[in-house]
């Protein structure tokens, strides 16, 4: 639990990697759902996890995938639709899955990933492992039936599932105060008799501590926790999305960018207590280089050929062939 200087620098590194990755996506004008501004939430939450712990996420999952340790080349190539992508060009921004890193699934169906995480918890409980399942979802998903049904079942059976709400206050253009009578998502925990914790999502160490405790609880068989990280996304819901009627003020966005940038905040904290500018600049340069490498690799990679389009429809290649015979 104690945060060593190495762990702290690792968290800083990961946050910076996510930021540079997202900026590269913007620069290359690739279709994506960016998480700039939410880095501390994603990194702090994934830091206490092992690669055998599984996460599920949602349509905005670049940050979760990087925080969980997915290789950058595979992620960037996947966004570009290349055959070298982690999902061979079939998943894209909405499904950045790297199984080896413990990313189970992401769902473009809002709330669709929550029962999947519940199922992973069920599997861990059945197989008597000490692994945990962390379910990331947004404030929008907290109004889906699956949120309530899944927490109920996890609580009923004390499954090792952590329900982690990235509350960035908006579900596309709908603010949570216009969508829910209860705007503190963690308060729902009371209804299911489990602990509910609100944390400042821009403070990576606070997120780390709260998640660490929830993970230990789950590993010991004490059941689920609902965590709500209050965070904010600096960019639009998705790249290039048009907003005919502003749903949030430029003033608000600017205030968050100026005073609540999680990387800037952590940098200040680290410089004042733990390290120097030189060390952090080195990390920044290294990650910048890694992102550039990922972009160049992806640009040089090929698109998947048409004749491969039916691959991975089924476990049996002969069955795949029988389905595609009318097409080819």
């Amino acid at each position: 639990m104690k945060l060593t200087i190495e762990k702290r620098l690792e968290m800083y590194r990961k946050m910076v990697t996510i930021r540079y990755f997202e900026e590269a996506v913007k620069h290359e004008e690739i279709m994506g759902h960016l998480c700039i501004g939410q880095e501390a939430t994603h990194v702090g939450a994934c830091m206490p996890l092992k690669h055998t712990d599984l996460i599920t996420a949602y349509h905005r999952s670049h940050g979760h995938s990087i925080a969980k340790g997915a290789p950058l080349r595979g992620l960037m190539a996947e966004l570009m639709g290349k055959t070298t992508g982690c999902c061979k060009g079939r998943g894209g921004t909405l499904h950045l899955i790297d199984k080896a890193s413990g990313i189970l699934a992401t769902s473009a169906i809002v709330g669709g990933g929550i029962p999947l995480a519940l199922g992973a918890g069920l599997s861990m409980d059945n197989r008597r492992t000490d692994h945990v399942s962390v379910c990331f979802f947004g404030d929008g998903a907290s109004n889906q039936g699956t949120f309530h049904e899944s927490i109920n079942m996890a609580a009923l059976w004390k499954l090792p599932v952590i329900f982690f709400c990235d509350n960035n206050r908006y579900s596309m253009s709908t603010s949570l105060k216009n969508a829910a009578g209860q705007t503190d998502v963690a308060m729902h925990a009371r209804g299911y008799n489990i602990p509910g914790i609100i944390v400042d999502g821009q403070d990576v160490e606070a997120v780390y501590k709260v998640t660490y405790n929830a993970v230990q609880r789950a590993r010991k068989g004490h059941g689920p926790t609902l965590i709500e990280a209050k965070t904010y996304r600096f960019e639009e819901h998705s790249m290039g999305m048009e907003v005919p009627m502003p749903y949030r003020s430029q003033d608000e966005i600017q205030r968050y960018k100026s005073f609540c940038d999680p990387i800037a905040l952590y940098k200040t904290f680290l410089l004042s207590h733990f390290t120097d500018e030189k060390s952090l600049s080195k990390i920044e340069r290294e990650e910048k280089k890694a992102i550039n490498d990922a972009v160049n690799f992806s640009k040089k990679s090929d698109y998947p050929p048409l004749k491969s389009v039916s691959e991975h429809m089924h476990s049996d290649p002969l069955v795949e062939l029988s389905f595609s015979r009318e097409m080819l």
Partner: protein, 330 residues
């Protein structure tokens, strides 16, 4: 392989198949509502309670939970009970189970079975209990769909479904629950998914029968045989992937096709069969393809009215005799 057989009902075959597979593989579990009520008491008595999860009324999430468990090391059987309830579960079936393997470029497998029961005949249960929606799921790529019609087919197919590494929907016909047949005892007795079965060979006409229509199809074929009309009854057993070659070979022999099913007419499985036969077997056809189905009308609760909506042996006899009369025997 053990060659001994036992007389078993369709319902017993379901329990037996699940029991054998749960004994064989620790990762097979059963999830569903009211497990104690629905013929699973033998399983509840035999296996650890963690392998038999009776859930709250949460079809969407209990199904999604099964999918998530399948993606992370278990092989769940999800008992969704009444087919009309499957719509609540259709998002995790179609958007998750059917798509995760593909969307992840093959990193994930989803070895899951969804069991779904169909009521029909004179149930008196009304419209929200009497759907036969397999055709809707046929249109979603990535799923396998089986409709066993006999106890032996049920046992062999359900076992294959549980061992399959892809999501399989098994539509069970409650009308057949008490139908008995000799079934192999061998715990490795399997029927492959994707293989049709000629339940009765013939030469004048191909009658493709889906699910519980098998009984009326066979009894009609017997009567027609006496009249000198030789009907070949084919049971596809699997709707997706369908054994098209078996049906097309039969058409090449007979030149005539009638399809019978209890589901509603529009876009039914019979419509798909008619389409591919007219596409790939047209040169062999001597007569138009006929479908005998339930009309596109909701099933009323009045049992007397209800049972008149489903295909009968009389309907099959009438259609086939009419077809032969109009188009000639040769």
């Amino acid at each position: 392989m053990q060659n001994t057989q036992a007389l078993m009902t369709y319902k017993e075959a379901i329990t037996q198949a699940q029991k054998e597979e749960m004994e064989r593989d620790q990762s097979v579990i059963l999830i569903g509502e009211d497990l104690t009520l629905h013929g699973n008491t033998e399983l509840i008595d035999t296996f650890d309670k963690k392998r038999l999860r009776s859930t709250p009324v949460s079809e969407n999430s209990l199904t999604g939970m099964g999918v998530g468990a399948a993606m992370s090391g278990l092989r769940p059987i999800v008992d969704l009970t009444v087919a009309s309830f499957v719509y609540l579960a259709s998002d995790p079936i179609i958007n998750q189970a059917a798509k995760q393997r593909y969307m992840t470029g093959g990193q994930t497998q989803v070895p899951i079975v969804f069991r779904i029961w169909m009521y029909y005949d004179d149930t008196g249960n009304g419209a929200q209990h009497t759907d036969r929606p397999y055709a809707m799921f046929m249109n979603s790529p990535g799923l396998k769909i089986i409709v066993p019609s006999t106890a032996s087919d049920m046992k062999g197919l359900l076992k294959s479904a549980i061992r399959d590494n892809d999501p399989v929907l098994i539509f069970e016909d409650l009308k057949l629950w008490d139908d008995k047949e000799l079934v192999f005892n061998d715990p490795n007795f399997l029927i492959p998914i994707g293989k049709a079965d000629i339940k009765r060979p013939g030469s004048d006409l191909t009658l493709v029968s889906i699910g519980a229509c098998l009984n009326i199809a066979l009894s009609a074929a017997e009567k027609l045989d006496i009249e000198g009309i030789s009907v070949e009854v084919i049971d596809p057993r699997t709707l997706v992937p369908m054994d098209r070659d078996a049906i097309l070979s039969s058409i090449a022999k007979t030149g005539r096709l009638v399809i019978v099913e209890n589901a509603h007419r529009t876009n039914g499985a019979s419509a798909e069969i008619a389409a591919f036969v007219s596409d790939q077997g047209f040169h062999n056809l001597k007569a138009p393809i006929q479908r005998i189905t339930t009309p596109d009308i909701h099933i009323p609760a009045c049992a007397q009215l209800e049972k008149q909506l489903y295909p009968t042996e009389g309907d099959i006899l009438r259609i086939i005799r009419g077809l032969i009369q109009k188009t000639g025997r040769f």
